[in-house]
Amino acid sequence: MPDKSNLPAAAVTAPRKNRYPLAWVGNGFLIILAVLAAYILVSNLFRNPIVFLQNILDGLKLGFVYALIALGYTMVYGIVKLINFAHGDIFMVGAFTSFFAVSQFNLHKWPQMLMPGFPAGLSIIIGSLTVILLSMLVCTLLGVTIERVAYKPLRDAPRIAALITAIGVSFFLEFFGALQFVFSPRFIPYKSPFDTTAWYIQSGIHPIVSGQASPDNTISFSNIFLIILVASVLVQIFLQFLVRRTKIGIAMRATSFDKPTARLMGINVDRVISFTFAIGSGFAGLGGVLYAIAYASIWTQLGILPGLKAFVAAVLGGIGSLPGAFVGALIMGQAESLTMSYISTPMRDAVAFTILIVVLLVKPTGIFGEPAGEKA
């Protein structure tokens, strides 16, 4: 019997012969949803292509941030078969770390503070990179600590125990962070390490000047959008290289394929797992900083919704598969942006989680996922 225990919970589509009665109602409903979605998209594309393109750009902004978080979910699931619900909160910690670095220590300007003659522009670039690296480092350490403290002791326990622990760690991070002496429960206006500038495209790229309206029917984007794009793509390329070409990458793949045998082969499984958590958390931290720069208001429950949507993205793309997480996140970003524009803003979360239900009903292994193979 194929081992189905590795698939996400909820339904597994029934084989054709054993369809339950009235299955056509459910399937019909899904088909109607699909047709409706396609109609909305196509009709709006033809009605105003410029706005459609702008929505695609906004969707990319969200999608690439979700990609940074989703890869952490997918890697951890691939290796220890655990959905790390605390991942979204590590994203939050990254945002807060960068906020404190910038507002308390002015870390984004440190070259200029130490050497007064340093050119300001270069100083901000080096300073911002330092802030981002610091946040990534803090998140990496946090991720590894959580793994050692909360998940390692439960490695041989039933998987539900580790899942509940992950949820517990998530709540702990949120509400401990909300204590007055930690992050405080306020919505804190985020102080960005560098200023966001925006441009609009109309026969050439022109900057949007504060106080002057940009012309109608143009597409606009900001520098943070470009940074998110570049960072996310670089991270994906780096991870593909890591997983395919390096020794630790092979060790990660071996551990996720068959942990006991990998251990027998001499791979230090504990170290591989810690390394996976470290990488995933580091990139979640990067995502946190970029998200905070883009949407400049942070609070301790910042990570809940993006974390959940990234989880849906990972499931959509096939949990355990890195390119799947990337593609799934891009789809989630687009779905959110297009829903906000063409249906209504409050519906965007509903649509995101409807995608989860639809994926689990139609193809639970996701786009790139493979059904679990037989173990000898």
């Binding site: 949407y295 429950q301 906000m340 803003t345």
Partner: protein, 383 residues
Amino acid sequence: MKRFLSLTAIVLVLMIAVIGCQQAPKELKVAVLAPLSGPVPTFGVSTRDGALLAIDEWNAKGGVLGMKITTIVEDSQCTPDPAVNAANKVINQDKVHYIIGEVCSKASIPVSEIANAAKVIQMSPTSTNTTVTLDKNGGTKAYIFRACFIDPFQGLVGATFAFNNLKAKKAFVMSDQSNDYVKGLAEAFEASFTKLGGTIVGKENYTGTDTDFSAILAKVKNAKPDLVYLPDYYNVVNLATKQAKEKGIVAPFMGGDGWDSADLDTKASDGGYYTNHYSADDQRAEVQSFLAAYGAKYKDASGKAVVPDALAALAYDATNLLLTAVKNAGADNTDKVKAALEGIAFNAVSGKITYDAQHNPVKGAVILHVKGGKVVFDSFVSP
């Protein structure tokens, strides 16, 4: 023998209980329900500080009716459930007869149901939604009052200013349907603006925890309004106005007293206006002496005197109104205090206050302008 001993024990306990009750010190208990955590903690801290300042001043003059005033502060988080829990606790456990709170309409409304049923006087310093003092049939809740003007008036002031002073003919309204305060203000503005002759070119909803307004702002850009009405709290305003600037939208934003906070991003909301209850630039004697007393009591981290915001001023007014009414009533009896409040005429920091039949104060509003990184006083509007 055993029965005699247990009988004596029971009698002794009863005696102690009776004697203990008779010798309880006479004090007036006032509860302050403020959102010290949650989405708007600056509001909660200001409210608490304003109320405590007023209570300290009364206690320094001997309390009220010879009774010392004790305060019980509870964190109601601007959210219905914690507010209801806090209200139940102070009414049932601490046995208070007077509640100053809550700040947010959506928390004040459920608290008012409980307080009214328990005949506890609730004076909300800042809840502006009409249904705080009105019950389901439109009648007035007997024991519930507020110290601030209501949303219909605030929406009317905003619409009048936008139409007459800013010469705006087309407005776009953004509103959070899950927040009674925002919804009420948006509806009031819409009604007043259209009655004056303006047109609402667009209405969009969002939820309070949204961070991405790009879709709504794209519609705003398309509609080309003269003004965008965003009557939400400062955390949402910060996000929306920043994204609007990034999209190249130059129409000014306008809002209500929810904008009033030290955490408002003055760079992003530059060019915006909002209606408020008071301004520190107002030269009236009540305002200036309040500023001096507040600055003397509360200092910030660097030792500078804190300038109170509208919430502190209103909490101060609310407490003073309540305690003056208790003094006028002559007894710690909520029916008498209620009657005293209905007939009061009081010179508060936020203007001269009298009460109408719906327990809403008749008073004026100020318009504040965000310019050059600061919030400046624009004008005063009387009812």
